[in-house]
Symmetry: C2
């Protein structure tokens, strides 16, 4: 074995290779760089000395000329919270335990698995539908009460009291939403779709789908929508569905003794991924009452991996949602649900009949699509800026807060008047200020509405749509109130309505469009659960009606149809979904014949907007720092080979390893996979046995099946001691930790046979494989670790491990600053 | 290098390994087994001596105890034709030429590519829509003429003449359809969906998407449908769309000087796959006027690989189809299209309003779904039996034919009366007989319809739906004629119609159901283009009406709705598609509110039928011997490792190889990929350079850039001589062949540098990788060759190559007959 042989010196590359490290060839004590944060440590003793207490394990000294540290951060923003992220592992760990378990699995157990999976999917549909219905019920009742109260006061001519009541209600609701979000689960802020998307791409953070997130998502969304914000409950519903699916897929809870034998089959990332995909589909289905749209949404936007069986399963979930919702709404028809009327779940039954459309109409629609695409792209651009501004303000506020705290204690100013005042305000977290500001602005916008005289033409009646007589003397009407002083769902219904050419004046629509566009942008950044669908549809519909009114002389189409197409153009321009948005709109409006028109608008606006920037969710994923793996490889990756980005030397274990070495390696690194290499005398030549996972090592160590001698066993001892389910993946945030285990010095000097728990079939690439192709392999198979093996014989059997972070553009550009990003 | 080292001796397997071959370690003259037909040959001279002339290259003697020959056949049935199949290669060949080309590609060329791709997709939509419209126009006119003629004759009481005219028309049309199918393109027989599915899975045969197939598919389908067969034009439309896409994606034709620089970008399997996926979606969209359904069909049934960009592209194609069809139908409204009425493209505008459905209705629907699933599964079972019977009859007839021919010439019986008679019949190929038989049966069924007296109840009018007064005296009506004596589209419309409870009697529906179910089964096997959608919908709709009539007292739902749900249950039971069938039915009937019911029925019937057998298209793919790769690995593959199925020693080339060796290897094998291994003095130790493709070798050899010495060059000579597009993949059935090249003896002794054309990043697996995981890798990335590398250092750098056929169950069971199939 040629230990001093540099692993990278043999392959011929097109570019100049980075300087090579000099290594001593000892495998056992080097620290590998799985899941980032790699460290270079010469020996075990050295390692412990240099151990960085914050757990990042970064190098203290730049010992290598090549930067071996993975520069991508291991943290990301989930909701409004910064937390560490992990990768998920969709690979099947084919170790002896798996094989034994799999061989012993009987028909009955396979039947159990299938029955359980369908039952879980059924439950996901059921619970999501019930939550979706409850959301609507609560919103309709709270917002309805608020609007009724205000109307009553106005009817009594007490306008100022009415405004105070209205604004006060909004403020209290907004503060409540912001408070539960800030104190219970900051991860529940925002739409949640980017987080779910990242989870389904393989990025895990405990808080993404935690029970507290679910709680805040449901109630925060209800409070936020009731508070009259320009935000939707659709995005949060997707997150809610995913949370429900995650809870059901946890395989019970040991803590509360809620484990059931049948549930253990779902303790792996693959099955959880399937369930959460179903959950996100169910969320859309429940939010829009669009079962097919839900399936397509999961396929087009949410999921990163898809297979035919999943199509069927999501379809089943959304069918359940549709049936349950229908039943619940039928129940409410009898009037037992308070103020919950037909407006509950948005469902705009237009059933227009467009007999024909002429070339002029098509031209008008193309123009609509082009401008809609521009506005959509602009929306994404502005949203990005605004979110960055919010994040800057938050940081500033936080540092101010810390600064003031320091001041207070350093100078003993606790009783100074400024600090007393400030301490009172402390109850409201800094992040709660922006919601309150936005709430006041929104209330002011929707209340300070001017009245307009009715048309003098005696032929025409005074418009009566919505609450048009709001606050107005006889002979006047208030067009804006029918849009503003209303729930968002009703406003959309009014905009989409047919045969209402004269209800809305140009100025009304224009003011509403500007206000909604801006409020939508500002509202998304505040730390409450907030969806983007409704603001975009609202802005798009008013934009569409404006275009429809302007082009009225040219086109025969109804302004209501233009509003629908405008909404489609905005959705296409911001979210960049095509088929799913199209089907959702169809299912919302029950208007199949206009399908080709909606398709056309969506394609045009998406194409236009794509030339400016990325879709809004992709943009937010990037901004939040979630390490999302794209399905395609970046072009510059073709200039690199796998060996180029493998960072630093790695820790590997011998097939039969000393317990102390394993414990130490687990303590000093946060890595999740370690290669196992058999060396003489265990084998004739050093050979790669496979990959062992941290979680499996921890379970193995906790069983203390140790040996005095370094000899290879048949593994039967381990196989008897453990079942495969002992090694099943615990839920996010659970599972054994190395700190939980204690070993005596005697035990530390004993040996443990790793063969039974080693995955003997890890995926590998040769070090000279182009990075682009390695990335495609990594992504297509949903891996967490990809082993890099040497090209030439006679070298140590493993060069390094590639993980998700090694494929991130930031990491690659950190290693090779001169590589062309745009090639 | 340890040449005598068996590649399989080092990994520990759970089962006993097969006996190992003894090899001499010489790499250059062994024959590898890529794309099957591997042969074991000791040396080059030996190889030529033993070369099997039929091209199969099978071993004459069992030199190995392990069967090294790939036992899967390299031929499959396409349509009604047996032809050789090849694999497609979706891997990016990253050789020097590719890298050079890719680096030199400017923005302008990328723009060209994008513009061309969208243009092609637009053209696919356009042409498919036009062809779909033309199909309908022709069918409506031909069938309309036939029915009018018959009706006129009947009106004149000339019943026998009418029958002769009707039967004669049908017979002539059927014979014409069978004749063009048999003589021009036997590959056009049947639905075509299994073939398209196989193509999109990576199985290529020239005739699948050839221009002649397209021609016969269009005209054969028109003739077949006009002939009154119980078959649809929907399946053939999918195949037609795929053929159109393939023709457009060929990158022009060198033969007819129709090459265009912009088209060369599409000369690869990846882009062709995308276009053909769009084509199949366009086919469904044109057949059913269901744009969203088309996209979902392509996703759920046709495509094996999918990515988000494709969703958008197929969506665009189907939108184009929808718009074009709408325009053409509008044009026909003015009466310029002969007998083409509103019935043209099936579009059953039901717009029913189901306000509520009760629990009883749900129970009724569940029962409907369960029985529908059973009937659907039975249909698949019977279809399989019938197709096997047809194939047996064909073989028998063919052998009889050959036998008689031999007899005729051997005994000089040309003038014997029997043979004269027979020779006249010879004009009609044996395969044309079954269409004629089926045509006569169908004519008899649809003409010999009994009349029924009108209901005596004066309150009820005599039913008048369809052609109910067919052939009947006053006071009588003919319920069967409204279904049988009609085009299939009109029959479906009649069955789906609402408020027609009393139009169809139970006996009528029952007879029709039995007749259609049987005729549908019998008709699919005959060698004409025939779709399965229409027979299944017809049978399902009549079944649904029967159930609806029976359960009438229990349920409030309309029998028309039951007919629709019955059709859904049959579609779910036979085709096992869920989302796409659901959306297609919605788009056909324009009836969104019944979505949950259709979903429920589909899920139930699919679940029930799945417990019996596979979907009809999967079944046909297997029966035709098309080597389809499933997305999941079979369980028994987990008991095997990649090294187990690698068949025999392989041919590899040195980085700089003697021309003679290459020519010889290409001549004696049909393999498509050869590993390139650099050995001293070209490198320090033997190392794997990559994989070189047969087609690339042929182009390289045709350029005759040979050298006198075996030295490594910079490759610039080759890079100057060729552009990347010279190596682009030619269309199916085209491209250079080794027989086209001639070399002098002097040239044969020269050397050629393979490095510039060698793909340096082939995907590899270690020989100890479980076969299941290798299969998943192979399938997920769409590979044609997967290199197997040794596990231990110090051995030759490549063990073998896995290809599609090595993963086929037949091959694995040939190698390991004792492995449990059902584990």
């Amino acid at each position: 074995m040629d230990g001093n042989h540099s692993p990278l010196s043999h392959h011929n590359k097109g570019h100049s290779p980075p300087a090579q490290p000099e290594r001593d060839g000892s495998f056992n004590y080097d620290i590998e760089s799985t899941d980032g944060g790699g460290a270079w440590l010469g020996s075990a003793a050295d390692a412990l000395l240099r151990y960085d207490e914050d757990g990042a394990g970064g190098p203290r000294e730049p010992l290598l000329r090549k930067r071996t540290m993975n520069t991508t951060s291991q943290i990301a923003i989930v909701g409004a919270n910064v937390c560490p992220v992990e990768s998920l592992d969709y690979e099947i760990v084919e170790n002896d335990l798996f094989k034994q378990d799999w061989r012993s699995r009987k028909k009955q157990q396979i039947f159990q698995y299938i029955v359980m999976k369908w039952t879980l999917v059924l439950l996901i549909g059921l619970f999501t539908a019930v939550v979706g219905f409850f959301n609507n019920l609560a919103v309709e009742n709270i917002a309805g009460f608020k609007l009724l109260l205000t109307s009553d006061l106005m009817f009594k001519q007490r306008y100022f009291t009415a405004f105070l009541a209205y604004g006060g209600c909004n403020l209290v609701l907004a503060a409540a939403a912001a408070a539960i979000c800030a104190y219970i689960a900051p991860a529940a802020a925002g739409s949640g779709i980017p987080e779910v998307k990242a989870y389904l791409n393989g990025v895990d953070a405990y808080s993404i789908l935690a029970p507290s997130t679910l709680f805040v998502k449901i109630f925060g969304s209800i409070l936020g929508v009731s508070a009259g914000f320009v935000l939707g409950k659709e995005g949060p519903m997707v997150h809610t569905g995913a949370c429900i699916a995650n809870l059901l897929g946890q395989g019970g809870s040991r803590k509360y003794h809620l484990t059931w034998n049948w549930l253990r089959y779902f303790k792996n990332d693959r099955d959880r991924r399937d369930l959460i995909t179903c959950g996100s589909a169910a969320g859309v289905a429940a939010a829009f009452r669009a079962p097919v749209g839900g399936v397509l949404f999961a396929l087009e936007e949410a999921a990163s991996w898809w297979r035919s069986a999943l199509l069927w399963r999501t379809f089943f979930t959304t069918a359940v949602v549709a049936v349950v919702l229908r039943g619940l709404i039928q129940f409410c028809r009898s009037g037992k649900c308070g103020l919950f009327g037909q407006g509950g779940l948005i469902m705009f039954d237009l059933s227009s009949t467009i007999p024909t459309y002429s070339t002029q109409d098509i031209v008008a629609i193309v123009v609509l699509g082009v401008i809609g695409g521009v506005f959509g792209g602009l929306f994404n651009f502005l949203l990005d800026r605004i979110l960055r501004a919010y994040s800057f303000i938050n940081e500033y506020e936080s540092s101010l807060y810390i600064c003031l705290h320091k001041l207070k204690f350093n100078f003993n100013l606790q009783h100074h008047i400024v600090f007393r005042f400030w301490s009172a305000g402390e109850v409201l977290h800094t992040r709660s200020f922006s919601p309150i500001t936005v709430s006041i602005i929104t209330s002011a916008c929707s209340y300070g509405l001017p009245c307009t005289p009715c048309p003098v033409d005696a032929m025409e009646q005074c418009p009566t749509i919505g609450r048009s007589n709001f606050q107005c003397p006889p002979g006047h009407y208030n067009g804006l109130a029918s849009l503003f002083f209303n729930t968002n769902d009703d406003a959309i219904r009014n905009l989409f309505s047919y045969g209402t050419e004269n209800e809305f004046r140009m100025s009304t629509l224009f003011i509403f469009f500007i206000a909604v566009y801006c409020l939508g942008l500002v509202t998304y950044g505040i730390a409450v659960p907030s969806g983007l669908f409704i603001p975009v549809i609202l802005a798009g519909a008013s934009y569409g009606r404006i275009v429809g009114t302007l082009l009225g002389p040219l086109s025969d189409l109804d302004p209501g149809l233009f509003a629908l197409l405008g909404a489609a153009s905005f959705l296409g321009g911001t979210m960049r979904m095509t088929v799913s948005v199209c089907v959702i709109l169809l299912e919302l409006t029950n208007d199949l014949p206009m399908l080709p028109l909606v398709m056309l608008v969506l394609l045009i606006s998406k194409t236009i907007a794509d030339s400016f920037n990325k879709g809004v969710y992709d943009q937010i994923v990037v901004m939040k720092g979630l390490p999302f793996l794209e399905a395609h490889a970046e072009p510059y990756m073709r200039n690199l080979v796998a060996g180029d980005v493998v960072s630093g030397p790695l820790i590997s274990f011998s097939g039969v390893e000393r317990v102390g070495n394993i414990v130490q390696a687990l303590k000093i690194t946060g890595h999740n996979g370690f290669p196992v290499v058999d060396e003489p005398p265990l084998s004739e030549a050093p050979e790669l046995v496979g990959l062992v996972l941290r979680s499996h090592l921890l379970v193995l160590l906790s069983g203390k099946t140790f040996m005095k001698e370094k000899v290879k066993t048949s593994g039967s001892f381990v196989l008897h001691r453990f079942g495969a389910f002992d090694f099943a993946k615990a839920g996010s945030g659970k599972g054994l930790k190395i700190e939980d285990l204690d070993f005596t010095d005697e035990e530390m000097d004993m040996y443990v046979d790793l063969h039974p728990v080693t995955n003997t079939s890890p995926y590998t690439v040769v070090e000279s494989m182009s990075l682009a192709k390695a990335a495609i392999l990594f992504r297509a198979l949903g891996l967490r670790h990809l082993l890099v093996v040497p090209k030439t014989p006679g070298r140590p059997p493993i060069v390094g491990i590639l993980t998700r972070h090694d494929f991130m553009p930031e990491h690659i550009h950190g290693l090779f600053p001169n590589i062309h990003k745009s090639h």
